[in-house]
Structures are given as C-alpha cells and as structure tokens.
C-alpha cells in the first residue's frame, strides 16, 4: 500500500475518531449534569430517588424513617428474612410490581414526615433532615 493511501485512510479514521470523541465528551458532560441533579435530589431527601436496589434498612437510614414503621406500612411480618432483600426481590417475593412497592414506600415516608414535622413553618423534615423528636420539658 502506498504511503499516500495510508495517509488518506488514517486521516479518515482520525476524523471518525475525533467525531466519536466529541460525542463521548458531550455524553460525559450530560452524565455529570444528571449526576449533579441526582446528588441534589438525594441530599435533599427527595423520595423519587428510591431505587429498586435499596433494602428496607437502607431506605430507613437514608430517608430517616424507623424501620419498623416501613415494615408496618408494608405489612411485613418476618422482618429478619427481608432485612437483606432488595426492593426488587421483595416485590417478587410478594408478587407485586416493584414500582407499586416503591410508590408505597414513598407514600409511607411522606406520611411519616408530615406526622413528625413540628408545626413551626420549618420544613426541615421535608428536606430529609433527621427528625429531632419532641423537646424534653
């Protein structure tokens, strides 16, 4: 193969690789933006960030809700067997769609927050901060 053909071929490949790299760079920037959004939602305690990979104890700790409250809400009796089960596996175990289970958990958390927010106009609990509990007299 002559050097001129090699030169043209490499030039074409370089253009393609450059295009692909620019595309990947744009994808990376978009992924970083999505990550920032997700991070903001997670730190603000938004319940929409609950994923099917989480376990009930994980949800309880991240969203500051007592574990037994979630168990009661979901009518789970055998707590030990579900302790290390992801929400997807739990949904399979109870023969229900995982989205509906997550939706139930989201409602449980929102209800708990409403019940345990002091009526001072402070929306600290809605933002996912841990409940401070009642003040001791």
């Amino acid at each position: 193969m002559s050097a001129r053909i090699k030169l043209i071929g490499t030039g074409i490949l370089l253009c393609l690789a450059l295009g692909a790299t620019i595309f990947c760079a744009m994808q990376t920037v978009q992924a970083i933006q999505r990550f920032e959004e997700s991070r903001n939602l997670a730190t603000s305690g938004d319940v929409s960030t609950i994923g099917d990979w989480m376990t009930l104890p994980y949800v309880a700790r991240v969203y500051h809700v007592p574990e037994n409250y979630l168990d009661q809400w979901l009518h789970i009796r055998d707590r030990q067997s579900t302790r290390h089960t992801t929400l997807r596996a739990l949904a399979d175990q109870y023969n229900r769609p995982v989205d509906s289970l997550i939706h139930d958990i989201q409602r449980a958390i929102v209800t708990y927050r409403k019940q345990h927010t002091p009526h001072t106009g402070n929306t600290q609990h809605d933002k996912g901060q841990p409940p401070t509990g009642r003040k001791k007299p």
Binding site: A3, L7, G11, R34, S38, G51, W53, A89
Partner: protein, 239 residues
C-alpha cells in the same frame, strides 16, 4: 436497572462477601457482568455500615487477580498450542506466517504490560481477552502479576470510593464513569491516529524529497553531456 445487576445486588445483600468474591472472580475470567456498578453499590452499602469498605477492597482485588490468573492459565494451556501449531505446521503457515507470530509476540512483550495495567480499570471490557492473550503469547507470569495487581487495585478502589462517597447516587456515578472511560478511549485513539498521520506525512514528504534529489542527481548526471565543464588543468584546448 438490568436483571443481572439486580440479581447480583440481591445476592450481595443476601450472602455478603462470598457472593461478591464469586461474582468478581467469574467476571474477571471473562463473563460480561456489570462489576463496576456492583462495586459502586457495594461502596454505597458500606457507607451505611452494611459492609466494611477495606474488607470489600481486599476481597474484590483478590477475586479479580485470581480470575485474571485463571484466564491467563487458560490462555497459556489451551491457546499457546494452537498458536504453535499455526507457527510450525505447513497448513498452519498458510493462515499466519511464523514471522507475524514472532512479531506479535515481540510487540506484546514490549507493550503488553501497559495493556494489562490499563485494561484493569480503563478498558475493563477488554480485561478477559487480554488475560487470554497474555497466556497465549507466553507473557512472563511474574510481569503479568506485576502489572495486574496494581491495575486491579486501582480498578476496585475507584468505584468503591465513589460509591462510598456518593451513596444513593451511585447509578448516576456509574453513568459518568462509563461515559468518561469511552471518552478516554476515544482520546487515546485520536492521539494514536494523529501520531500515525504525522509519521505517514513525514514519510510522504521524505519520498517527495527523495524523488526531488534523484531528479536533481539525474539532472547533474545528464548535465556534463550537454555542457561539459571547463578542464581544470588550465591548458587551453587545442584548436
């Protein structure tokens, strides 16, 4: 989330460290499992106290190295013989010349270390193939381990640390890592192609200058016939 990943995470939660070791080992041998995401999730679980992050790192590194060694051994035991046959037999020589095999072996010996190291964390999809190739090419085992262990350590620590730091957002971190590694691969490809292009341009330039020189030489060779130089002896030509 894929069913594979969901199953892996469920087994990680249910069976703990042994499940993690086994899944990483199998992935290191060559099965395409989303281990980077599993490690991110494991880091997120560790952040809330489900696992010890140091034990996770040790287990994941040991499993990866063990899987890589098995891949290398498979390549060495099963792959090197067909290559030898291709190299030595008459019918094998039709497919691939012994010179090509020797050249590829030499090239892998020179650059294989970097390929092994980088494929542990940057191009992890190629890890299994590079393990096999290292065995087939009879890459020295000690040097293989020397490149493999630090690479795997980096490849394990990065996702674990990111999962530990960013917790519930690990899926978004996984997307960033995936996109970023593709970007790095593209960038490396651009650099390699750019270097090749410059080399080819230089060789074309050299060929051109070579042609010009030969043309000039031809001209100087032809020139005395047309216009002979004056005699240097100082004697005038006899008329």
């Amino acid at each position: 989330m894929s069913i594979f990943l969901s199953t892996l995470l469920n087994s990680l939660q249910s069976y703990g460290y042994p499940a993690l070791w086994l899944s990483i080992f199998v992935a290191a041998v060559g099965l395409p499992l989303p281990i980077g995401l599993v490690l991110l999730a494991a880091g997120a679980f560790a952040a809330l106290g489900d696992f010890n992050v140091i034990v996770l790192a040790l287990i994941a590194t040991s499993a990866s190295v063990a899987g890589d060694c098995l891949g290398y051994l498979i390549g060495r035991l099963l792959g090197s013989k067909p290559l030898e046959w291709l190299e030595q037999s008459r019918s094998g020589k039709r497919f691939i010349s012994p010179r090509t095999v020797a050249r590829s072996r030499l090239y892998f010996k020179r650059r294989g270390g970097w390929a092994i190291f980088l494929s542990r964390f940057l191009f992890s999809a190629l890890g299994g193939i590079i393990n096999l190739l290292s065995g087939i090419e009879l890459f020295p085992f000690r040097y293989f381990l020397f490149c493999d262990i630090p690479g795997e350590a980096v490849g394990v620590v990065i996702p674990l640390a990111l999962g530990f730091a960013f917790g519930a957002s690990w899926e978004a971190v996984g997307d960033v890592l995936g996109a970023f590694s593709l970007f790095v691969v593209g960038l490396l490809l651009v650099i390699v192609l750019l270097i090749r292009l410059i080399r080819y341009m230089c060789s074309v330039q050299r060929v051109k200058t070579g042609h010009r020189l030969t043309e000039v030489q031809n001209v100087t060779d032809v020139a005395p016939i047309i216009d002979p130089p004056a005699p240097s002896s100082g004697h005038l030509p006899l008329s």
